[in-house]
């Protein structure tokens, strides 16, 4: 089992969700995050004083999947989030050792979906 963590542009969340659905991946957790990557942020002026905003708003998604679903999930995120412009984000894949469904204490790969 893997935990796929991805940072994407906020406005791409809907597209990513749709791509996931098409591949029958329905479980997902989303939170917001501030990120700093190759996209360098921007400057603005507040009451005459410069602000460097180098933490940009991103959406962080977490999807836990069985190994067979790693590829489709990554595909889905790429298809939904890629604009080929700096700031598109990253996908990280982490190993999961256990997965438990709280509702029925089910454990292991069948709990993930």
């Amino acid at each position: 089992m893997k935990l796929i963590v991805a940072y994407i542009q906020p406005e791409k969340l809907n597209d990513v969700k749709q791509e996931l659905y098409r591949r029958e991946i329905f479980k997902i957790s989303v939170s917001n995050s501030l990120g700093c990557g190759q996209q360098k942020g921007y400057k603005k002026v507040y009451r005459g004083v410069d602000i460097e905003v180098n933490l940009l708003k991103k959406v962080r998604i977490e999807i836990a999947v069985n190994d067979a679903f790693v590829e489709p999930t990554i595909e889905a995120i790429l298809d939904g989030a890629q604009t080929s412009v700096i700031g598109d984000g990253k996908i990280f894949v982490l190993p999961i050792e256990q997965c438990i469904r709280i509702r029925n204490r089910e454990n292991g790969p069948q709990a993930i979906g």
Partner: protein, 440 residues
């Protein structure tokens, strides 16, 4: 001869004893009469001014957090630019000497020493600003700020004053008997029509309408701050006690009591009407619809507030509340016109309804509506007014927005719209530090 002298002495004596001469009495009474009007119009005018805050809060509340600062700027600046314009041109075109009943033409750049003129200008400028600011809500979340400024200037300097002249400035509509006590048409419909044209010229916000094949689905874009929207509605309602009762234009006209009463009842009925419809249609008593309903009731009663009974006011309000929900749905789901705050329905449609209501429910010696034995005459006149003002506003704002669109651009870029106008146009954030989760 002797008795005459005696008489004069006596009168003088009587007057002196009471410490005040006949002349002084007379001038005191004139002064007092003037002072009533002065105080009444200034207090009422201040209340109407405060409605700017109400509009700002309603519009902020019913749109997204990322555009709040832009809405602030639009609401602030349409008043500020508008008041300068109305000082330069607007007043002159509206209340200057009438040129064939079509527009006024004198008293540009008001000055001098005539306090009554200043008083009247003060009371009228806040009405002009109300008409102007209505549009900011309908065009929210996607209009270029500079384009909006240009629009503001023209509506306050030209468009509003001219139709205003027809009705309140002694122009042709008033001469044939058109009646609009406090501005269902003069103010609200004008704002409503301009909103309609503006939103059509702009197009909907990104993500508002999703088409799959030939089916277009309307997507909700939620307002981010209902408490502010609620506050805004209460402020508007409060301000309406200047808007309507103040429109007696006289501090000694007791009709103001009837006006306050019908205003209260119609607003209440409007909110209840909208709540009931939303409860039936959507299975829930909808908050923002009920708030819109109160405003609908207020707009609906504005034309007839001084000439209808309390019971009629309740009926007018209730119908306004019904209308506003259906109208918002129709405009959104059938016409696919994107009006984030419902300005077209609240001010435009209910403004029309309110104007016609005079011809239905009016019941005074001069104004007799259909239901009170007046036949179709008044109703016909009201209808004519509604149509001509509608045509005037839609034509002029149509041209205006078309020119702006061609020459300057009316709408921000897609990227700016997605980032939010606060960042894109004012490089600010309205809620710095708050975590706001948006993928819209």
């Amino acid at each position: 001869m002797k008795s005459r002298i005696v008489v004069m002495i006596l009168i003088l004596l009587a007057c002196t004893l009471s410490g005040i001469g006949a002349d002084e009495i007379s001038s005191a009474i004139t002064l007092h009469q003037d002072s009533f009007d002065m105080i009444w119009l200034l207090v009422a005018g201040s209340l109407v001014f405060f409605m700017q805050a109400g509009f700002a809060m309603v519009e902020i509340g019913l749109t997204r957090a990322k555009n709040a600062g832009n809405i602030i700027m639009k609401n602030l600046m349409d008043f500020c630019a508008g008041s300068l314009m109305f000082w330069m041109f607007g007043w002159a075109l509206m209340y200057g000497e009438s040129v064939n009943g079509l527009f006024g033409f004198s008293q540009f750049f008001i000055g001098g020493n005539d306090m009554v003129l200043f008083r009247n200008w003060m009371f009228q400028v806040v009405f002009a600003a109300t008409a102007a600011t209505i549009v900011s809500g309908a065009m929210a979340e996607r209009t270029k700020f500079s384009a909006y400024l240009i629009y503001s200037i023209f509506i306050s300097a030209l468009i509003y004053p001219i139709s205003g002249h027809w009705i309140w400035g002694g122009g042709w509509l008033s001469r044939i008997g058109f009646f609009d006590f406090a501005g269902s048409t003069v103010v609200h419909s004008v704002g409503g029509w301009a909103s309609l044209v503006g939103t059509m010229a702009l197009g909907p916000r990104i993500g508002k309408y999703v088409s799959q094949g030939s089916v277009v689905t309307s997507k909700p874009i939620l307002g981010h701050n209902l408490p502010l929207a609620c506050l805004g509605v209460f402020i508007l309602w409060f301000g309406w006690y200047g808007f309507n009762p103040g429109s007696t234009l006289s501090g000694t006209d007791p009709t103001m009591a009837l006006v306050a009463t019908t205003t209260t009842l119609s607003a209440s009925a409007g909110a209840i009407g909208a709540m009931i419809v939303s409860w039936i249609k959507f299975k829930n008593p909808d908050v923002s619809m009920s708030l819109n309903g109160a405003l609908a009731g207020l707009v609906g009663i504005t034309a007839s507030t001084a000439v209808v009974s309390p019971l009629s006011a309740i009926i007018i309000g209730l119908i306004s509340g019904f209308i506003v929900v259906f109208s918002i749905e129709f405009i959104d789901k059938i016409l696919h016109i994107d009006d984030p705050v419902g300005a077209i329905s609240v001010h435009g449609i209910c403004g029309v309804w309110g104007t016609l209501a005079v011809g239905l429910f009016g019941n005074t010696t001069h104004i007799k509506g259909l239901f009170f034995g007046g036949g179709f005459k008044q109703l016909g006149i009201q209808f004519l007014g509604v149509v001509t003002v509608g045509v005037w506003v839609m034509a002029t704002t149509g041209i205006l927005f078309a020119i702006i669109k061609k020459s300057h651009g009316l709408r921000v870029s897609k990227h700016e719209e997605l980032a939010g106008l606060d960042l894109a146009e004012h490089s600010t954030e309205s809620y710095s530090g708050f975590q706001i989760f948006t993928n819209m």
